[in-house]
Symmetry: C2
Subunit: 350 residues, 2 copies
């Protein structure tokens, strides 16, 4: 029986194309022999917008939707370019995709792999997953401003949280915890954001009743940042809202050896829409085109992609290859392409 | 010429009374001989609420307002007590005071003092101040929910940002930067919270024009958490909104040797209302009453209090005493009272 894995590739801006080239090589090397990978490249990003005036149209969404899955590098141009102000690319492309394709689970695993140096003196064994909600919260985009530009300006941002949206991501997190060390921590700020916080806390309490074997804890987001630097090994599965998840996963990336290793999945668990996998890092325009960016986060995102697409063994082989490569890497400086080739070269099906 | 310093003391819950006792001893020891310190104790906190049903009434506010300044320990009871759910004490007492007394500058200095071990392997020289806005943003408390408790529940939280509120705190931060290393970093999430972000960015740009010698930078809050663990020495003055400031100052406390050392001031720079000084840490009910809590953060909050009340030399003498004490402290375990006495004992005016 032969299978096809039909991947839409949005390499994006800056270092995106470099790291995605290596990730695609690894993807092809990792899949079983009976699977054909087809890739279709889409040009979206800041560069495309500046050249064409288009960020992502409805027809583009329709085209992307026909693929099994999306692999994204990084999007975003020069942060000082006034034509890109206000996160127009981030919101018009990245967030638009997450919302349009109902990527309600933003999955961000954090592991300190052997041989990787953490900025923490004594991190212990770190292996947790942040399940970040992806389609609600302060990312809903329902803010506004009046009297803009005057001394009477008022700008507001609205965090929207629904029972529907919170429950499904909380259920996902509990199911994930069942396959791991069975510890779940809700991270929120219930003492200040009391309406949203109450909804999250009540939902976790209700779903917890169906998972008596999962140990449930709670931390305010401010306290969570403390624990992430003083005792990160205490975490197994963290479930949290879109904004808190954004913040703590960058911190988690930093403590686990850098954002150059942090992978993520924007997942629609229902399978109604294609899921999207991307490194947590940005487009890093300052180092773009120099063949120095670390493609490991993009490659680990391919492992998440394969896992979600029903190739657990191929996913595990990538993780094993990355682990072996990192253990050997030491302090040698290698190019983007050298790292990609080294990892691809370790894969059984290469 | 003799002066009186009239301090309202809210020791609060948990370890609050223990650390405040030491802080008051240090306060009395630090002021010049011609100054009389009077303290008036107020019983507010979770314990008071559970005993009396009152959190903070209008008459209480009127009484507090008559003092020069407020010293607060920590408020908050057992987090699992359902009578205290939803941050009723935090919002009804701490946030109520910040809002009623227009504490629009929440000042949180971060220094790694000599002899203090950071959880970071190589923090470098860390000396920055976070100027957190204290009266707006997602703390405005203007959220709500409908269909509460049903599968159709929608809970919202509204972040309110005004030109008036942002400008005054940004001005304060620039003025502070002028007295320091002249570097100011705005931390926000302008690429997602684009209305509030635009107001903050435009305000910083406008005020920057009046301070051509201050170097101005910007970081998204997620990226800021990375820099706080990989390169915290890059920061001098950070200006940010209420929620982002809450999160990054706990992280800042953690990297600088623990929240047991982090002091803060809730300041009304106009002098219309009394300012309030408090350690960043909470009431820590688990270690309360054991004489083991570190009173250093409360003592350093007294230094901030004295600075703001026009006693810069007394403030500096406390900082010097704490620095000397920490350098000597090493790994010895001392009681709350021993630490307080050691620091008070070093003060000239003792
Ligand atoms: C680029 C930005 C909109 C995005 C986010 O805030 O979600 C990024 O920080 C991330 O974490 O994927
Ligand atoms: C207790 C809580 C309401 C408070 C806040 O969020 O401001 C605390 O975390 C702080 O930082 O002073």
């Amino acid at each position: 029986m032969s299978r096809t894995l039909d991947v839409a590739v949005i390499a994006g801006d800056g270092i995106g194309p470099e790291v995605i080239a290596e990730a695609v090589t690894v993807l092809r090397a990792a899949v079983p022999a009976d699977t054909t990978v087809t890739t279709t490249e889409y040009p979206f990003g800041a560069g495309h917008f500046l050249a064409t005036g288009t960020i992502l149209g409805d027809d583009d969404l329709a085209a992307l939707r026909r693929h099994d899955v999306i692999l994204l590098g990084a999007v975003g141009g020069d942060p000082r370019d006034p034509r890109l102000a206000g996160g127009i690319i981030e919101r018009g492309l990245l967030l638009r995709l997450r919302f349009a394709f109902d990527h309600y689970v933003n999955l961000r695993p954090t592991v300190i792999l052997p041989g990787v140096e953490s900025p923490l003196r004594d991190p212990g064994i770190v292996d947790f997953v942040v399940v970040r909600e992806g389609t609600e919260g302060p990312y809903a985009g329902t803010g506004g401003s009046i009297r803009t530009g005057t001394p009477q300006e008022i700008a507001s941002e609205v965090s929207v949280n629904t029972a529907y949206g919170v429950e499904r991501v909380v259920r996902y997190a509990f199911t994930l915890a069942e396959t791991r060390r069975k510890q779940l921590t809700l991270v929120h700020k219930t003492n200040v954001m009391s309406y949203a916080g109450s909804l999250w806390q009540r939902t976790v309490d209700a779903v917890a009743a169906e998972h008596p074997d999962v140990e449930v804890g709670y931390q305010h987001v401010d306290a969570a940042t403390i624990h992430l630097v003083t005792n990160p090994s205490r975490f197994d599965v963290i479930v949290t809202d879109n904004l808190f998840g954004d913040i703590i996963t960058d911190l988690a990336g930093a403590i686990s050896g850098g954002i150059g290793l942090a992978a993520s999945g924007n997942i629609n668990p229902d399978g109604t829409y294609p899921s999207m996998f991307e490194p947590v890092h940005g487009s890093a325009p300052d180092i773009a085109g120099k063949n120095v960016a670390d493609p490991t986060a993009a490659i680990l995102s391919v492992a998440l992609l394969l896992e979600q697409q029903g190739y657990p063994e191929a996913a595990a082989s990538i993780t094993a290859a990355v682990t072996a490569d990192l253990a050997e890497r030491g302090t040698t400086t290698r190019s983007t392409h050298e790292v990609g080739s080294a990892i691809a070269g370790r894969l059984t099906h290469h």
